[in-house]
């Protein structure tokens, strides 16, 4: 049987969810027998491929690049997992929402605290504009499965992956559904 094609994607998060994925430790070696990692920040593939079976998406949607990436991965993937609290609720990444627009957070960081050349980075085509409101993933694309936690601990990631790999769907219960 062909190995399942699995991807992991970073949007607006802290990469802690990806680190927790790496905390699978030696199980990663077994996992590599069962699945093929076809796209991830830890491998050198630059283009999100077609026909992905499963993707773990870390982070909230907070700039225009994220919108594009989210839509593209939805088109090309069978099962999309909202991976970690930032993707599930917006979490810390969304703490800027109640305050003000994107510009006022940018002003604080690049106009008020710079000693030289105070300016908001805006190079077109290079620096993606921020959205005024940070969104959880399901506000932008349909999501098939939620894995909360900040980050979800490795054993929970493993439990979810095993369910998905063996039955094609996943249902987390009880203590496995925990934020923070």
């Amino acid at each position: 049987m062909d190995r399942l094609r699995v991807a992991t994607v970073w949007l607006g998060g802290c990469s802690g969810c990806h680190m927790s994925f790496l905390d699978l430790d030696e199980f990663l070696i077994d996992l590599a027998q069962k699945v093929e990692i076809v796209f991830s920040p830890v491998i050198d593939v630059k283009e999100y491929p077609e026909n992905v079976d499963l993707v773990l998406v870390e982070g909230a949607v907070c700039n225009e690049d994220h919108l594009e990436v989210a839509r593209r991965l939805r088109e090309r993937t069978n099962v999309v997992v909202s991976f970690g609290d930032c993707a599930v609720t917006g979490n810390v990444t969304a703490m800027r929402n109640p305050l003000c627009s994107a510009d006022c957070v940018l002003k604080r960081a690049y106009l008020e605290t710079a000693d030289v050349n105070p300016q908001i980075p805006r190079e077109p085509g290079i620096v993606p504009p921020l959205l005024d409101r940070v969104m959880p993933l399901h506000e932008v694309i349909p999501v098939d499965c939620y894995l909360p936690g900040c980050p979800p601990p490795a054993d929970r990631i493993k439990a979810l992956l095993m369910q998905l790999l063996t039955t094609g769907s996943a249902r987390l219960v009880g203590a496995q559904i925990k934020f923070g």
Partner: protein, 476 residues
């Protein structure tokens, strides 16, 4: 015809970034730039939060080095409380930081960078990664994975969680080490040493075959900054700021981290969400300096532990005064792993680690506090201002990786000039991967300010001098 080459995203680094390479009319590299393309705004949205929440919120800046933010944040809070924390709490915080240095450096070496030089620069991109390393050398990959695990478990034994433990607090820490935790750490130390020594040996072999990389992977004079002890010993948690120049001469010393603003200025850039700090007395951009393992080894006189000191001596032979090649960040990182393990071994039997006296209690006694610590990637500053009620009014953070921004820009330009063909020769994937590897040497942690994914794909756009796209192609 001028062209611009875009590498997007840079892979096998922690966080997302792009690189642009600008070619002039003759097809020679005119400049190259490193862009960090995401921003989350912690400096703004922490305003109005109670001080005590900061060590809980700010680690979410970065899941790779959350402990650094946890400690810098707790130290800024200690300063606002105006307390000296109990000695046991300081030892415990140091222990956790050492665990973090081990796990983060192991990640950088085994999971991210080693595939380049252990599997080879010309390996196909599909297998040039940690899973490729698993296939090619399963025992080594397993050892590397377990070394990172050792560091992560140490953090968990102290804080109850591997990532984002809510453990350090204003005035100290919440929990001591348990006897079971201590024994578990001790039990795994010998294996961790074995792996660290193996990595060092492997890397020394790599160095003997990589003299070209040593010469052109970000090898140029800059200043170096790090925390150092008053007696000149390597430091990771406390101490003073010290700057040395490329000749290894100390040019500024004994600077209290709270006075960082006198030593460090920040410039904003039009094409990156990463600001560019510089050494203020030399101005921008002449005040370019580097931080992190290479810088820490350059600013200190000694590591303070026997094995690491013996290795430091070998390391120093690569420089005249300071070691200036960024390729040797990898070497410095491995020496720091050994040093951290030796220090964990020294510390682990200290009965204070089991003490219950762990927290100094006080209210708001000062309205400003700065906390600094050495994150795996360099000196990290948290600077808070509060009102009388302890609510945050202002936050500024200088993130370790940002301080290497100017040097990373210069590195990508240096590698591009060296490896890209002059004229209009064919640009290949391994050439571009070397440019990315120049960034990997710094082990940048862009989570700290970023995460973006841009248009995926390694694109080469051919631009006319006025910037219009004449031709576009993908490099696979």
């Amino acid at each position: 015809m001028a062209r611009r080459i875009l590498i997007d995203p840079v892979t096998r680094i922690e966080g997302h970034a792009k690189i642009t390479i600008h070619l002039d009319d003759e097809g020679n590299v005119a400049d190259a730039r490193f862009h960090v393309v995401e921003f989350r705004g912690f400096e703004k949205f922490c305003e109005g939060r109670p001080l005590g929440e900061m060590p809980g919120i700010t680690p979410r800046i970065c899941g790779i080095c959350p402990v650094s933010h946890l400690l810098a944040s707790a130290k800024a809070c200690d300063a606002i409380l105006a307390v000296n924390i109990p000695p046991a709490a300081e030892k415990l915080r140091r222990l956790m930081n050492l665990g973090q240095i081990v796990q983060s450096h192991a990640l950088s070496f085994f999971h991210l960078s080693a595939p380049d030089f252990l599997l080879g620069w010309e390996t196909t991109p599909a297998t040039r990664n940690v899973f490729g390393l698993v296939a090619a050398n399963p025992e080594l990959a397993r050892a590397g994975i377990r070394l990172r695990q050792f560091g992560q478990e140490l953090i968990e034994h102290l804080g109850g969680k591997k990532i984002h433990p809510a453990w350090a607090v204003p005035g100290g820490v919440r929990e001591p080490l348990t006897e079971a935790g201590r024994d578990a750490i001790k039990g795994r130390l010998p294996e961790a040493f074995t792996t660290a020594r193996l990595a060092l040996k492997l890397f020394r072999d790599v160095l003997s075959k990589h003299s070209r990389e040593i010469q052109v992977f970000g090898n140029f004079p800059t200043l170096f900054m790090g925390l150092a002890n008053t007696d000149g010993t390597w430091e990771h948690y406390d101490g003073f700021l010290r700057f040395v120049d490329a000749g290894g001469n100390v040019i500024a010393d004994g600077i209290e981290p709270a006075q960082y603003r006198e030593a460090i200025g920040e410039a904003a850039l039009p094409d990156s969400y990463l600001k560019a700090p510089y050494h203020k007395p030399l101005g921008y951009p002449d005040g370019i300096y580097r931080v992190g393992p290479l810088a820490r080894l350059n600013v200190c006189q000694r590591m303070g532990t026997p094995e690491a000191d013996a290795e430091l001596e070998r390391f120093r032979r690569f420089g005249r005064g300071a070691v200036t090649s960024s390729f040797l960040y990898h070497y410095a990182r491995l020496i720091e792993i050994v040093c951290s393990l030796e220090r964990i071994q020294e510390l682990i039997d200290d009965p204070d680690l089991l003490s219950e006296r762990l927290r100094a209690n006080a209210g708001v006694n000062k309205l400003v506090g700065v906390g600094a610590s050495e994150a795996p990637r360099g000196t990290l500053f948290h600077h808070y201002e509060v009102n009388e009620d302890g609510l945050i009014t202002k936050v500024n953070m200088i993130i370790a990786t940002g301080q290497n921004n100017l040097a990373m820009n210069r590195t990508v330009a240096q590698i591009a000039r060296h490896y890209l063909p002059s004229g209009n020769g064919k640009i290949t994937e391994p050439m571009l991967n070397r440019i990315e590897a120049g960034i990997r040497a710094f082990d940048p942690c862009l989570s700290c300010s970023t995460h973006a994914s841009g248009r995926m794909g390694l694109e080469v756009s051919v631009l006319a001098a006025n910037g219009t796209v004449l031709d576009a192609a993908s490099v696979d």
